[in-house]
């Protein structure tokens, strides 16, 4: 069931909420949790009933292992614990590897070894990338003895709680389980309900109006590249920028809907996005983009590899390994590996540059507005280049788009626009711009949408900032003024939410836009990962 569907918004969510509040007031806390687990499993089974067995089995095994690991830890049986942990992680990664990477592995093996193994196409069970990571983190922490005793029902809700089940945020047991155990959180509360409705509506608007609205200008460009067509400068940039914005509004919209839906039940989910495109450095970008994935990779890959504690060489190679794995996590394809590698390189350059700056004591003067804008521009440019690989169906289409973006294939605008600029057309012609037939409105709307959405992404406050007086998420993001573009003061003040009548009307307008967009349903991009 998609968040942006009539089934979810008009039936599943209201019914789940109503039954939940009825059960909790009549029968108490535990039966209400049992209801939430059942509802979440129904939510998951809506797509494919057969994978229900997989997620239940995965939960049972991991819960059992967690218990054993915690016992080993308290008994001081570290060696046994370690072996068990390795078995547990291998089993989880094995399942993920089979479903996600088996086809990829076999096809590459066939190319390298010139064999011709055939494997039936394996359908990726929804959410497996997400719940695998959550459970691996749980096992590792159980081994370290930093998990406490929970009931299976609580554990099951931690894994399956429907707002975060399919595409994150990747929640951590440390932030979820305590919330399930206290009676203060899971309860009917008008304040939580109104905060939840607001965040959910903003998310729905981002996804259904903004992301789906600009998607139609991104896909044709990548499709054309995949067909081997030559793209000129403005077409290629139009496609790349449109996708850059589509992905952001799609995924951050999804996350808002998840945070909002969870909040209706009184649960706070961790932050996943904090205006990433405002970042003025690539490391700040990663502190703001898909934050719970970055956090997982840092805590369970980068730091265990040694992090920055083992010298510069190891530091950079650890960073690269982490980013390559992060890339591969998104999908079994070389374009994702390249994307990860590209970001690994970006980060290495960024850290190197910081080092040079501090050694040469170049800090003064770097806070000037010009420098900040240049830093933002470079960061954003690098991110857009990365998304081209991320979106392209294969390497050759990614290169075709980059070629277009480089200007190698020339600069062209639609004839319909050229004839409307009067004598300026001659100037354009002299600049080497050529004119092509058709596609006038496509061109115009591509750039109108890009301008509008980029302005929102760069200058508007984000959901957390709008809701900042009501602790919208489990954690907050902190950064210095120079780390990102800042929202101007008056706008910040004006956009601060409160449970007032005026905000009620304003959010109703946002909600109605979202509701009216449900008639053309589309999936969330992050469901494929």
């Amino acid at each position: 069931m998609l968040f942006n569907s009539y089934e979810f918004i008009l039936a599943f969510l209201p019914i789940t909420l109503a039954v939940f509040f009825f059960v909790i007031s009549r029968y108490g806390h535990e039966p209400a949790i049992a209801w939430l687990v059942s509802a979440s499993l129904i939510f998951y089974a809506w797509w494919n009933v057969t994978y229900l067995a997989l997620i239940i089995l995965s939960m049972l095994i991991n819960y059992g292992m967690g218990k054993l690991l915690a016992r080993h830890h308290s008994n001081g049986a570290v060696r046994h614990g370690k072996i068990l942990l390795i078995i547990g992680i291998t089993a989880n990664l094995g399942a993920l590897g089979y479903f996600k990477y088996a086809n990829f592995f076999v096809s590459n093996l066939n190319i390298i070894a010139e064999t011709s193994f055939q494997l039936e196409t394996i359908i990726l069970p929804l959410a497996i990338s997400f719940f695998t990571f959550q459970q691996i983190a749980y096992l590792i922490d159980a081994h370290k003895g930093i998990t406490s005793e929970f009931k299976f029902l609580h554990y099951a809700l931690f894994v399956t709680f429907f707002p975060q089940l399919i595409a994150g945020p990747i929640v951590h047991h440390r932030e979820m389980l305590p919330q399930f155990m206290t009676k203060k959180t899971l309860r009917l509360n008008v304040d939580d309900l109104s905060i939840g409705i607001t965040i959910f509506s903003i998310g729905l608007f981002k996804k259904a109006v903004l992301a789906d609205g600009i998607a139609v200008y991104a896909s044709p460009v990548f499709d054309a590249a995949a067909r081997g067509e030559t793209l000129t400068f403005f077409e290629a940039w139009g496609g790349a920028l449109a996708y850059t914005l589509q992905l952001y509004f799609d995924f951050s919209g999804y996350t808002d809907m998840a945070i909002g839906a969870a909040r209706m039940f009184g649960i706070k989910l961790p932050l996943n996005f904090h205006s990433p495109y405002k970042a003025t450095s690539i490391s700040e970008f990663w502190r703001r983009w898909h934050m719970t994935l970055s956090r997982f990779l840092r805590d369970y890959v980068y730091i265990p590899l040694g992090g920055n504690k083992k010298g510069n060489y190891r530091r950079y190679s650890n960073m690269m390994i982490t980013m390559l794995l992060g890339g591969l996590w998104h999908g079994a394809g070389w374009t994702f590996v390249i994307w990860g590698g590209l970001h690994g390189t970006y980060l290495a350059i960024n850290h190197g540059w910081r080092k040079i700056r501090s050694t040469l004591n170049l800090t003064a003067g770097w806070t000037a507005p010009f420098c900040k804008i240049a830093a933002w521009g470079l960061t954003f440019f690098c991110v857009v280049i990365g998304w081209v690989f991320f979106r392209a169906s294969d390497l050759s289409s990614a290169i075709a788009i980059l070629e277009g973006m480089s200007g190698r294939n020339g600069f062209a605008i639609p004839n319909a626009i050229a004839v409307r600029v009067g004598s300026f057309q001659e100037v354009l012609g002299n600049l080497g711009i050529t004119f092509y037939l058709g596609g006038g409105s496509q061109f115009l709307f591509t750039y109108l949408w890009i301008t509008a959405l980029l302005s929102i992404a760069l200058f508007m406050p984000n959901t957390q900032e709008i809701m900042r007086n009501f602790s919208p998420s489990f954690n907050t993001h902190k950064s210095g003024d120079d780390d990102a573009l800042q929202v101007v003061g008056p706008l910040k003040k004006l956009s601060t939410w409160g449970p007032t009548r005026i905000w009620g009307v304003f959010i109703a307008i946002i909600s109605i836009f979202g509701l009216l967009s449900l008639s053309s349903v589309s999936e969330f991009l992050y469901f494929q990962f």
């Binding site: 409705i197 050759s396 319909a416 037939l437 058709g438 009548r501 959010i507 109703a508 008639s519």
Partner: protein, 427 residues
């Protein structure tokens, strides 16, 4: 913190907004789905209706209850007028059940739907060469019926085998609901109101006709030469796109012919008069067919159509795709924006003026007695087809001799496309 006020005002505002937008969409009715009255200056023209004909027309035709149907793709939609004088009183109302870009299968399935829900007893069907082209990799069994069910068929009252469609009522509720409760509709409602002042605004009449006035806007700003250039380009790309046939591999038959045959069977069973016609093409289009080497295929296609049609006594077939004064009308060559052709919009789409001449011939039995009949088109049959095709070949050669510069231009385009195709790196 007191959220009661927030929740209350949110709920009230949401309901009010829901009611007003739905009501507004219903009143403006930008796609003609709800059949609310068309008020001059408010919602008379439907500039965005052309984007939704696939959804709207199946419902519209049932509502109009026509006695005659026009079937085909965008060519007859823009060319044949359902209010033409030759539609006699007992044939009216006439509905144009035409859909731009529709496959033969879609056209026929919609016709089956209309025949089962309306009293229509006369159907004129425009057939198009491009719609019958089959890719060499098509190994389907053309006789298999029904082929797999497509999305659009849910909104047709009967299935491909003639049974009642169980999903029809649910689909119609969904279509009406999602049209009324939609942001796209709201945007189009606003566009509809603001576009009323534009005399060249695009439109769909209540009878499904598309006057195609929006071409005039393009012609005034960019010139008709541009339209010709763009369409020639597109047509040649399509014609060169694959190693086309009109038959599925392993068969001397195709899904499209089979589909048409089934329509003819239905019309025979129900005693419905079926008139087939091959749409007129501008001579430049015909030249593109010649230069891409598809002329023999074009002829073979016509032979098959004639053979099929002549199996049924109730049916006849007209060919308007020949060379004559209309189809050889000179097209503007430079970017002159005041020069407007009389019979064609571009090589593939003819104007209503030409469509009127066609209707006079096809509906000769129903025309008023004093109707003037210009020489245009031929009634083709198994008996005269070979002679007819030979005559057309001669006419094509004559045209080529008289218009060397057009021939050169098309030749250049064809070789350009071929070179581009050959130099493309295989993926």
């Amino acid at each position: 913190m007191n959220s009661k006020y927030f929740i209350r005002s949110w709920t009230i505002a949401l309901l009010l907004l829901l009611i007003t937008t739905t009501g507004f969409n219903y009143l403006v009715d930008p796609y003609g789905l709800f059949a609310t009255p068309r008020i001059s200056g408010f919602n008379e023209k439907k500039p965005t209706a052309n984007t939704r004909v696939r959804v709207v027309k199946p419902y519209q035709v049932t509502r109009i209850q026509p006695h005659a149907l026009i079937v085909g793709n965008s060519r007859p939609e823009m060319g044949l007028d359902p209010t033409h004088v030759c539609w006699s009183a007992e044939k009216r109302p006439v509905y144009s059940l035409t859909t731009p870009g529709a496959s033969v299968y879609m056209q026929v399935r919609q016709t089956q739907h209309a025949l089962s829900t309306t009293p229509a007893k006369l159907v004129i069907v425009g057939v198009d060469f491009l719609d019958f082209l089959v890719a060499p990799e098509n190994h389907d069994d053309p006789y298999q019926w029904p082929p797999s069910v497509s999305e659009f068929e849910h909104r047709l009252s009967i299935t491909a085998t003639g049974q009642d469609n169980d999903t029809y009522w649910w689909q119609s509720i969904k279509d009406y609901m999602t049209t009324a409760l939609s942001l796209d509709t709201l945007e189009d409602s606003l566009l509809t109101i603001t576009a009323q002042g534009n005399i060249n605004a695009s439109n769909q009449t209540t009878l499904g006709f598309n006057p195609a006035k929006d071409y005039l806007d393009i012609i005034h700003s960019e010139g008709q030469a541009v339209l010709f250039q763009q369409k020639n380009d597109q047509v040649i790309s399509t014609l060169l796109g694959k190693n086309w046939s009109i038959y599925h591999t392993d068969h001397r038959w195709s899904r499209d012919f089979e589909t048409l045959k089934r329509l003819m069977d239905t019309s025979k069973e129900r005693d419905i008069e079926l008139i087939l016609f091959i749409n007129p093409y501008h001579a430049q289009y015909l030249e593109s067919i010649r230069q891409t080497g598809l002329w023999p295929l074009f002829e073979q296609w016509k032979r098959e159509l004639v053979k099929l049609t002549n199996n049924y006594t109730n049916n006849s077939i007209w060919d308007f795709s020949g060379y004559n004064t209309y189809t050889t009308e000179a097209a503007p060559v430079d970017k002159e924006t005041t020069d407007i052709m009389k019979w064609f919009w571009e090589p593939a789409h003819y104007r209503k003026e030409l469509g009127d001449l066609m209707l006079v011939h096809m509906l000769a039995n129903y025309c008023p007695e004093d109707t003037v009949k210009a020489e245009f088109g031929s009634l083709v049959s198994v008996a005269n087809i070979e002679q007819y095709l030979a005559r057309q070949q001669m006419a094509a050669q004559t045209y080529a001799i008289n218009n060397p510069q057009i021939v050169t231009k098309i030749q250049q385009l064809v070789s350009q496309k071929r070179n581009a195709e050959n130099s493309r790196v295989p993926k």
